[in-house]
Every structure is written in structure tokens, then in C-alpha cells.
Symmetry: C2
Subunit: 198 residues, 2 copies
DNA sequence: TCAATACTGAACCGATTGGTCCACAATTGG
DNA sequence: CCAATTGTGGACCAATCGGTTCAGTATTGA
């Protein structure tokens, strides 16, 4: 159908590299040359494939969310385990990722959330990131609500509060990882942070 | 002694304004014109008074630490209250500040910690910020150690873990505030986060 | 084979970046 | 009063910013 020369680079791979740069440096801390160096393409290829820096960032955020953000919740639905175990495994899964030696430290979504307050993010990015965080809270709220209905959790605290607590922990662990904490340290913090659920 | 024209602006006040800009936008997200606009001085005055952008940032971090960072620990030493109450008041004091309508949302130190991993921060800044975080952990560790010695706290968890937990909470609350959480929401999270201490 | 298509690399754009310099104004202490 | 000192504002700097344009080239389907 569509004739013409084929792209000489793997678009998915280039986007992955771009995402890693944003993850490391943040949006305002990343220049076009940072991106083209990491992606091993030149500017015009970047623009024809991804639009511009801002649109590339939005695509990088989406890739991050799908590849590194949403997977951890799987741990919450492994119903052969108790609720405290599932929550612990959920947080440990996050902790492993944000301290992985193969990846930038911390969490791109958490870093980006910190950048919302200034006006340095591109169009739609702030809105997208807020929506992703809100989605996390909503799905965690739903999760805790159902666990309470199942009788796995006393209803002293509202599901919404518990969801906000978990999101707060995620943020805190991510910044701690950026600050140099390793997996061991985060695991100790996690073990203490979920005593209330036991 | 020193002759010469006097500065026509208040240096402390200008530094405060600069700090607020860094707090809002982050270091790479802040330009010199952002700074000179907020400080209401021009570039040469900025350079003669503060050195350059990087040195100004370091001074802004110091100001933040002294004025907004260290004050909350006072709550921990109000010995007429119980340990859980003191920890709760410590976190509430932080939560009030990071959601204050008079100030940028969140915490400048937390934001800056997220920026360490890239190489966008000026000389010494990354080191200074790491040292401040480490100081927080050390003093909190010392605090919990003494509370255990006093018998106010069981020794199931190590003081260092408890200190890391509190720092993680601070980070998490700060990013949550950046994400739009208000004082009410943070208070609910705090109430749940310290159940282990009761 | 060949016209149509789409990627590539480099030149180029105006704007802004952080930073310097200097003539001049203002204030000081002697 | 006056020389010494210091701050001020604006001109100026090279470098980089994000972004565009385009001729040339490679690849496609017909």
C-alpha cells in the first residue's frame, strides 16, 4: 500500500530510549540533543516520527505507564495470598523496579508529577499525568472497597484514604530511590509501612 | 569602613524570591529571566550579589532548609505529649506547609532530590541536597533510638528503619501535595500512616 | 523500470540560554 | 568636597535552545 523508503530505525526502540532520558533528566532537563544522541537519530527523523519534544514526552509517558507503571497491580489480585501479603508484594514489585540497576532510579511519573506545578511541561502532559495519578487512586480505592466487602479489611479507614496512603508510599519510595536508597532499605520501610494491614 | 554605593534591594528578600521560583519550577525549569523578574533586579546585580545561577540555587536551598525544612522537628521534642502525638504533629506541621496557599506546593528539597539523578544541577548542589537528606535520617534515627531507650517505643523495628520510613512519608506527602492533595487529604493519610506507633 | 513516497542529514532559523563587560550613577568615609 | 568604592542598567557575547526546511537518497508498489 504505502510506498516509500522504510524507517531505518526501530520506532519503539527509539521511544524507549527517549523515555529513559526523560526518566533520568526530567522534561526541562532534557534537550533535543540529549534525545537525538540517545535515540541515535537526527532531529528531522525525530520530528517526522514523533512530532516535537512535547509530543515525544507524552508518548514516553504513555510507554512508561504501560510498561513500568501498571504491571505492579497484578500482585494485588493474586487471591491465593492474604491481603497484607498482596499489598507487600505490590510495593516490593515497585521497589524492585525503582532501584533496578538496569533502569534510571525512581519513577518517571513521580518525577513528572513534581514538575506539574511549574509551567515547564508541554501541552496535555500535566493533564495526562494528573489523570494517571487519579486513575491509580480510583482503582486502589475500588480495590480496598472490595476487600472490605470481602471481610479482609476492617472498615475503620475509608478505602479512599487507604488508596491515598499507598500512592503516597509509592511517591515516597520513588524519591527515596532517587536519593540513593537500595532495595534492602526500601524493603525494611515497606515491611514497617504495612503493619496496619496485618 | 567600606565606601561605595549601597545595594538598592534587600538581599535576603531577593534570595527568598529566587528560592520561591526554584521551588515552583525546579532548577532546570528556571531561567535567569524568571529569576530577575521575580527578584526585581537585573542580571548584573544578581551576579554581583549571588555569583551565578548555580550559586544562587545553593543559597536558596540553604535558606529553604533553615526557614522551611528544619522547623518541623520542634514538634518531636515537645515531651509533654506522647510519642505518637509528637510524630503526628511533626507530620502535620510538614503537611500544613506543603499545602499552604502562600507558598509553592510541595517541598523544594524533595523536588531537588528528584533532580539529582540527572546531571542538570549545579556544582555542589547534588552533594548538598544528599547531605541534607542524610542529616534528616541521622537525626531521626537518633531520635527514635532515644525514644526506645526511654521505653516509649518497642524495639521490634530499628531506629534507622523508622527514620527512613518518616523520610519516605515526607517525600510522599510532598509529591502528593504537588499532585493537588489538600491538607484534609494529607491529614487522613498521616492518621493512617502512624497507627503503628500507637 | 519508474513514478511516488518517505526517510536522512545538514544547513539554517529566530529566540533564548547563562554569562560578561563597561560606562555611569550613587554613595561612602576621610 | 572629593577620591574611592560599589551598585546599576544596558549592550553585548558565544552557545544552545526548540524547531523548520530542503535537496538528496533510498525504498516502495505498480
Amino acid at each position: 500500500m504505502t510506498a516509500g523508503r522504510n524507517r531505518s530505525f526501530d520506532k519503539d526502540d527509539a521511544l524507549e530510549q527517549a523515555m529513559l532520558v526523560f526518566w533520568t533528566n526530567g522534561y526541562p532537563g532534557t534537550s533535543l540533543s540529549d534525545l537525538t544522541n540517545a535515540m541515535e537519530i537526527n532531529k528531522s527523523s525525530l520530528y517526522s516520527a514523533f512530532g516535537n519534544k512535547g509530543k515525544l514526552f507524552n508518548q514516553a509517558i504513555d510507554l512508561y505507564s504501560n510498561k513500568y507503571g501498571l504491571v505492579h497491580t497484578d500482585e494485588l489480585s493474586k487471591m491465593e495470598k492474604t491481603l497484607p501479603e498482596r499489598i507487600r508484594n505490590f510495593l516490593l514489585s515497585i521497589a524492585r523496579m525503582i532501584t533496578s540497576s538496569n533502569l534510571p532510579k525512581g519513577c518517571l511519573l513521580c518525577n513528572s508529577t513534581s514538575e506539574i506545578a511549574g509551567n515547564c511541561l508541554p501541552d496535555n502532559a500535566a493533564k495526562n499525568i494528573s489523570a494517571m495519578n487519579q486513575h491509580t487512586v480510583i482503582s486502589l480505592t475500588d480495590f480496598f472497597q472490595k476487600e472490605q466487602q470481602k471481610g479482609n479489611l476492617n472498615d475503620k479507614f475509608s478505602p479512599n484514604t487507604l488508596a491515598n496512603y499507598l500512592l503516597t508510599l509509592q511517591f515516597g519510595l520513588a524519591v527515596s530511590a532517587r536519593n540513593g536508597s537500595d532495595m534492602e532499605e526500601l524493603e525494611e520501610v515497606i515491611n514497617f509501612s504495612i503493619v496496619q494491614f496485618e
